[in-house]
Assembly symmetry: C2
Homo-oligomer: 332 residues x 2
Amino acid sequence: MNTAPFRSLVALTALSVLPSQADGDSLPSWKDASARNSIVKFVEEVTTPGSPHYVKPADRVAVFDNDGTLWTELPTYPQFYFGMARVKANASRHPEWSAVEPFKSALAGDLEGVVASGVRGLIELTAAPHDGLTPDEFEQVATAWLSQARHPRFGRPYTECVYLPMLELLRWLQAKEFQTYIVSGGSQEFLRPWTAHVYGIPASRVIGSTVVTRWERRDGKPVIVRTGKIELVNDKEEKVLSIQRVIGQRPILAFGNSDGDLPMLEWTAGGAGLRFCGYVHHTDAEREYAYDRQSKTGRLDKGLDTARAKGWTVVDIKQDWHRVFNFEPGPR
Amino acid sequence: MNTAPFRSLVALTALSVLPSQADGDSLPSWKDASARNSIVKFVEEVTTPGSPHYVKPADRVAVFDNDGTLWTELPTYPQFYFGMARVKANASRHPEWSAVEPFKSALAGDLEGVVASGVRGLIELTAAPHDGLTPDEFEQVATAWLSQARHPRFGRPYTECVYLPMLELLRWLQAKEFQTYIVSGGSQEFLRPWTAHVYGIPASRVIGSTVVTRWERRDGKPVIVRTGKIELVNDKEEKVLSIQRVIGQRPILAFGNSDGDLPMLEWTAGGAGLRFCGYVHHTDAEREYAYDRQSKTGRLDKGLDTARAKGWTVVDIKQDWHRVFNFEPGPR
């Protein structure tokens, strides 16, 4: 993986901005409220030797959704903007796209039409333009786009539009010997170039949607080649099946923000022993966005009801976070 | 995962039998010959800070085939015996099996017919009898079988028929901060219950063949259910595609023993920087087995030519290993 260009981009963002913290102050961007307290209580109970809920490090599996849980997903998934740009850039090779959704909407710059295609559309728009590329070539394309793209409201690279409190949580869990995974509906290969630098999560712990690949020889050397065909749309129940396929263990902690994460949270909750399930609830239109049951992207409806019924932790961004982004000049 | 019954079985085998070794003597079962020396030279070059070939721990990915590389695969893959037993045990529910290969041969106890079905047959025989089981239920079945099955020649549990020199190598690489993976044609869920105890390789680092799974509710609780349908036969080129899908990084070290491992070794060799590719060559009919180009199981033909042409390390069991198994009373 050629991460050099990207590393320079993110060197000043994300995990590297976090100051070292004493254990009791690992979550400085979290207000001293019930969400923070429930997280701290859980982590201490499962990591303190002698605790009745102690879990050995090998079993400390924690899974996080990405869009809307670790980074901002409105106006829509950043990957949708990537897909639209890539479809436009490759349109001349694909005249057939002008008549087929979600490509038609992408070419017309119709964000609403694109969003209506859902997570499958997201993966289609990322898959089709990159048919025939090697993973390394795809990575260069994704990295180049991410380095120049800016969030339409915040004017920052998407990789800076990550939630500071969640970065603190990831770092703290990693220090506590949790194996932190991303389990995303987004494309695995779109995430992998930057998750190590931004989240401290290596490629092997990124589980996302995939395309069918094939092995072939080019100039006598073996290469892996992406096709335009979808292998897996890693959403809803598929997230649970992926967790079993890739990790082979049931997580003890899961964080999501939408109904697409509900099966993963239910699966986590269903194991024996103490479990933590958390939802990020977007309630802060001023600092980020406020949306839930009616949103076209990241709809949180049944999940919110389930969380409340089961007593899961619902993080209210407005109430629970001192600070949302690192770039935010808000009070601390 | 319920590993308790299995843990007791293997507690006295495998990694736990290895004495702690000073760094220079981490491979006591390896003779002081070229195979050992090439391994030691490689590991020292990539792990010594300041070395021109230094590789940081995050990039120290090492992949190992299992059958014939870490444990004995003759008379045939242990999993074939498991599959035959399971097909017999479930035959009354499946009258159609009596007319279809490889089930027909399995029911007739025709080992040659079963072996002729190859790696796909191996996965079919493991998949079909367990349609409808959860992964936990499958694990109990596999563990129960492994606890009572004995190797037909050595009279030992299959999990004791693991190569002591390879256990030493795994342990040494793990101590040197390598991420050691199994990349096997065998079924992932057949391996996972015991690889942590025997090889020090956790479930999340076991990549094997898989069946299609589905999510459903039983008594209101979400469960994962195995189907009898094959999702992936993780052999040959598929091993390379799996490595990219699951690990997302090209390995710097790969060990195999058959032509089925050749693409994985070529893929490893094709990366930039220093790489290690090794083949276990079965040359010791007295202590284990002698086979290569003509074998129906674990055929090593094109791979042997390629290894010699490219200067890869070919481990000659007879010449290179003081001791093959822990239970072997041989000279040291």
